[in-house]
């Protein structure tokens, strides 16, 4: 791990959200999210077989990602810890889901 001195200097490095995002960008993200919402509702009515679920979750993940990156400022932060925590939490959730589901998926009776 890199040596990290907790005493902050006053040159204002690595602070969350010192970067001020333009209001226009926020409106753009909002518009994308609204469109994606109606898109996902509409796609659900179209028969894509097994891919209905895949597409729905993909759209949801895209929406969640842009909320995280732009509204929650993860794109603009230089804090590595934020991204580490986020990725770890998602990874841990997947551990729970994957290992539990794999038990059910590999049972003889199904």
């Amino acid at each position: 791990m890199a040596d990290h001195l907790a005493r902050a200097d006053h040159s204002d490095h690595s602070q969350p959200s010192e970067h001020v995002v333009s209001a226009g960008l926020y409106w753009l993200i909002w518009a994308i999210l609204i469109c994606a919402t109606f898109l996902t509702a509409w796609v659900a009515t179209v028969d894509l077989g097994i891919f209905n679920t895949v597409v729905a979750l993909l759209i949801a993940t895209c929406k969640a990602s842009i909320v995280v990156l732009f509204f929650m400022h993860v794109k603009y932060t230089s804090e590595k810890m934020t991204k580490a925590i986020l990725i770890s939490a998602i990874f841990w959730l997947f551990l729970l889901l994957f290992l539990s589901l794999s038990d059910y998926a590999t049972r003889a009776s199904g």
């Binding site: 005493r7 909320v67 929650m72 841990w92 059910y104």
Partner: protein
């Protein structure tokens, strides 16, 4: 607190006097803000696991009882669900722009946007309440005269298992109920933030509570972003 009597000797005491929001155990406001932000992100990680336990149960049962879950999903009010998703997205916009307003020191804009956020939050809960009432009337609330016979009746060609449908509704109410509880807490937090903004506590130098409350609100929005397709859109073909 008289506990902290000795802290005046250190050079950083000057900053403590200038910055009343700076708490005694922190060296400077940057450290305090970093700590608050890290603390909120860590807390959100615990919330991911909290909801995650329910998602795990939901996924296992959906896989086991797909037709019944699909029927239950179709019985949910798609218009209300879509509208609610849009309402939360609007609230996330107002939260993000409110944080921006606090960064720029625009008090009036900040207060307006905070009120707008509260408004959208209450609208969300109102629509959810309407849906739940509707489900109660149709006997789809487990425990309260639950009956899935209407679903069995409406889907004669599918193998609908009433017990499995009850499991769907149990998980639906657990998930949306706990989500709603988080929304209520969020509204409470933002009410406090609005009062603080009204009392002019925030500035470009200090607006940490707005930022970290915002992070919490966005998280609750993201949970709904996943709940919506998983609950409402299982099979709408």
């Amino acid at each position: 607190m008289s506990d902290r009597a000795g802290v005046g000797e250190t050079p950083l005491a000057v900053e403590h006097v200038d910055r009343p929001e700076l708490r005694h155990h922190f060296a400077d406001v940057v450290q305090q803000r970093n700590a608050a932000s890290l603390g909120m992100w860590v807390f959100l990680a615990t919330e991911i696991m909290f909801f995650g336990g329910m998602f795990c149960g939901y996924l296992i049962y959906r896989r086991a009882y797909y037709p019944s879950f699909a029927a239950g999903s179709r019985s949910l009010n798609l218009v209300a669900g879509t509208l609610n998703t849009a309402v939360l997205i609007c609230s996330s916009l107002t939260v993000a722009t409110a944080v921006r307003a606090s960064q720029l020191g625009k008090r009036k804009q900040l207060i307006g946007l905070l009120f707008a956020t509260l408004f959208f939050g209450i609208v969300f809960l109102g629509i959810k309440g309407y849906e739940w009432h509707d489900e109660y009337v149709h006997h789809h609330v487990p425990t309260f005269y639950f009956s899935a016979q209407d679903l069995v009746h409406d889907n004669p060609n599918l193998n609908i298992d009433p017990q499995a449908t009850k499991i769907f509704y149990s998980l639906y109410f657990a998930l949306t109920g706990i989500h709603a509880a988080h929304m209520i807490v969020g509204i409470g937090i933002f009410t406090v933030i609005t009062i603080m903004a009204w009392k002019n506590k925030f500035s470009p130098e200090y607006h940490t509570p707005v930022e970290i409350a915002g992070l919490y609100w966005h998280f609750v929005d993201i949970v709904w972003i996943y709940l919506f397709p998983l609950l409402y859109l299982i099979d709408r073909r």
